[in-house]
Amino acid sequence: MSTLIKNGRVIDPASGTDRVADVLVAGGRIAGVGAELNAPGAEIFDATGLVVAPGFIDMHVHLREPGFEHAETIESGSRAAAAGGFTSVCPMPNTKPVNDSATVTSYIVERARRMAVVNVFPIGAITKGSAGEELAAIGNMKGAGAVAISDDGMPVMNARVMRRAMEFARSYDLPVIQHCEDLNLSAGGDMHEGAKSVRWGLRGIPAASEDVMVARDLLLAELTGVRYHVAHISTKRSIAMVAEARRKGMAVTCEATPHHFTLADEDMAPYDSNFKMKPPLRSGCDKGAVLDGIVAGTVSAIATDHAPHAGSEKMQEFERCPFGVIGLETALALALEQLIHTGKISLVRLVELFTTGPESVVRLGRGRLAQGTPGDVTIFSTEIEWTYDVNQSFSRSRNSPFDGRKFRGGPVATMVNGEFAWRR
């Protein structure tokens, strides 16, 4: 079974490729990249006018399985990923039970092998039950397939525990990913603390609650030498601190989500929980700083923080609704809208943010498009016009702030290990 992707604009940041060429995929791997390739018997995919890129990696998703299958499953989440152009996803460990042991990691890997249409690389917990106290079996989880550790959503508040976690992670050469939020400062908050929260009488989550944690962790990262990654960075000061750490040569990276570089608190529909997530939509100034951080290279990856919640959970009083929005299917289109059509970055840089960028953190052995690499290919258009209808989503959940948004550009086909996982 082989496929010849003809005449697309092939962009492979790892090799610096950006030219019109053919890509031959055979036996689950990239068999060749070049002009006028011939492959008798291969299925032909005409990619004229389209971009052909290494399969996109989303290093931050929530697939909700095991434990919350009413909101998402590994299968439904992976289908949404494929429809968003992603070929590999890294699910966070806040399942039920928490992915804090090799047993749970193995379960996820095994379920994904049977049910998922994309590659699934789990992220293990830092502490048992993500309770922030006792370290999880980090080495065992790595052995079972975990590619990083994080207590996403339940940040490690105890600095001593975090220091030890960083030391262990360094021993196993795993990155530590932190959801940066000082839980004492953010307690009770429902949205970004600013003019809108004060106007609407909603309790605020101050930008400082993120900055304080980034500052602490950067000091600990310097102390321990760990590879440290800030998840869904959202504030101007945090961006500045990460930029400074990188200038000093520390192994520090960060990711930005499409919703944080597209929306600010003033864009929220009042009391609409489809705009409620953590970190919250920040000020316009913070949003601008995230965009600048992408342009300047401070941000290494675009990640969705795809966080499905069932309709019944989101259809409540704003303060009772859980945090999180889905994002796999709109990520590329939002990135094109905000970064390419505005002329902020090049297409090569955009592809980097979805491939080599996250790959440099989670090291999946993917994110390249060259002879012999895995047959993960994302084919997208910068021009097709379409409208996002959340009710057509492959996700089991509908909590998106982008329902009804008109887009220019988006994924066209997604190939995982040599097979099409999704085609528009």
Binding site: V198, R199, G201, L202, Y271, Q316, F318, E319
Partner: protein
């Protein structure tokens, strides 16, 4: 199509003026022997209170009855809330009984706004969390206008727990629309700087004497301990720095009035002497509540 009353922010001057004028028509009725009209005869109003309330709930109920409507009051503790029903389901159930309006109080900011997206029945907001309390601002305006020709140019000091006050927010929106000058006063932890952007003509101060100086109206707010999730201010010294005492009144204009949305805590936000002071209009506010809510009910259902 439904048109309830969710907040003051989205109302125009003309709408507010019409309600206040209509409330004035209803004022004489309150002291008549026969107080009941039949304007809303055959109409049904549901009062749904998810939060404790004496004056607002009673006031709405009396207002409905004086207009000849039937009123049913439900409090959260005796309802299906305790059986785990969601707010939307409870409201849909009540709406299926075809009331003409639902008057609602809820501890969550935006709860009525959220519901109005799903419900055809008009909703009248009787206080949502720390967001708005529109009928309170309307009755406050009616009370001021009983003593002043206009709100324009008046200097109004609102003092106390501004951060958690829906009364303050609704009053700021209303007073600002009519060109009043508003001074918000409280300790920094209860006075976020963003309040200055709430509406034109708002100034913030942490000094009670600065707030009161030359003002026409002093509105005192209750310290809402039930909404403070940690000690935003040491309770033991609140009265010393932010409690209103008789000597403060010398700083205000000679005819300045003292207002309070109730319930008052003597000795916490105002001294007992101030509460009983001749220019304290706290009970006039309560009385005007009925006339104003009659005007609102008539506008929404009539």
């Amino acid at each position: 199509m439904k048109a309830g009353l969710l907040g003051i922010e989205e109302l125009g001057r003309a709408e507010i003026e019409a309600i206040l004028a209509r409330a004035k028509d209803f004022q004489p009725l309150q002291s008549q022997q026969l107080k009941k009209l039949d304007t809303l005869r055959g109409k049904m109003i549901v009062n749904l209170f998810y939060e404790a309330s004496t004056r607002t709930r009673t006031s709405f109920e009396i207002a409905a009855k004086r207009l000849g409507a039937d009123a049913v009051s439900i409090t959260a503790s005796g309802s299906s809330v305790t059986k785990g029903e969601s707010l939307v389901d409870t409201l849909n159930t009540l709406a299926a009984m075809r009331p003409d309006a639902i008057v609602m109080r809820h501890s969550a900011s935006g709860a009525p706004h959220f519901l109005s997206r799903y419900l055809e029945t008009p909703i009248i907001n009787a206080g949502d969390g720390t967001h708005e309390h529109p009928t309170q601002a309307l009755l406050d305006a009616r009370t001021i206008l009983d003593r002043r020709a206009s709100l324009e140019g008046l200097r109004v000091a609102i003092i106390g727990d501004i951060a958690h006050s829906r009364v303050a927010r609704s009053n700021v929106h209303l007073l600002s629309k009519f060109g009043a000058e508003i001074v918000l006063c409280g300790p920094v932890s209860l006075l976020p700087v963003e309040l200055a952007q709430l509406a034109p003509g708002v100034r913030l101060t942490t000094d009670i004497t600065d707030a009161i100086k030359d003002c026409d109206v002093i509105m005192m707010l209750r310290v809402q301990l039930e909404r403070q999730h940690e000690a935003a201010f040491p309770a033991s010294e609140y009265f010393r720095f932010y409690g209103l005492r008789l000597e403060h009144l010398d700083l205000a204009k000679p005819e300045a009035i003292v207002m309070h949305p109730g319930p008052i805590n003597r000795g916490r936000e105002l001294s007992s002497e101030v509460a009983d002071f001749q220019r304290s209009v706290i009970l006039n506010q309560v009385e005007n509540g009925i006339a104003v809510r009659m005007a609102v009910l008539e506008k929404v259902i009539g």
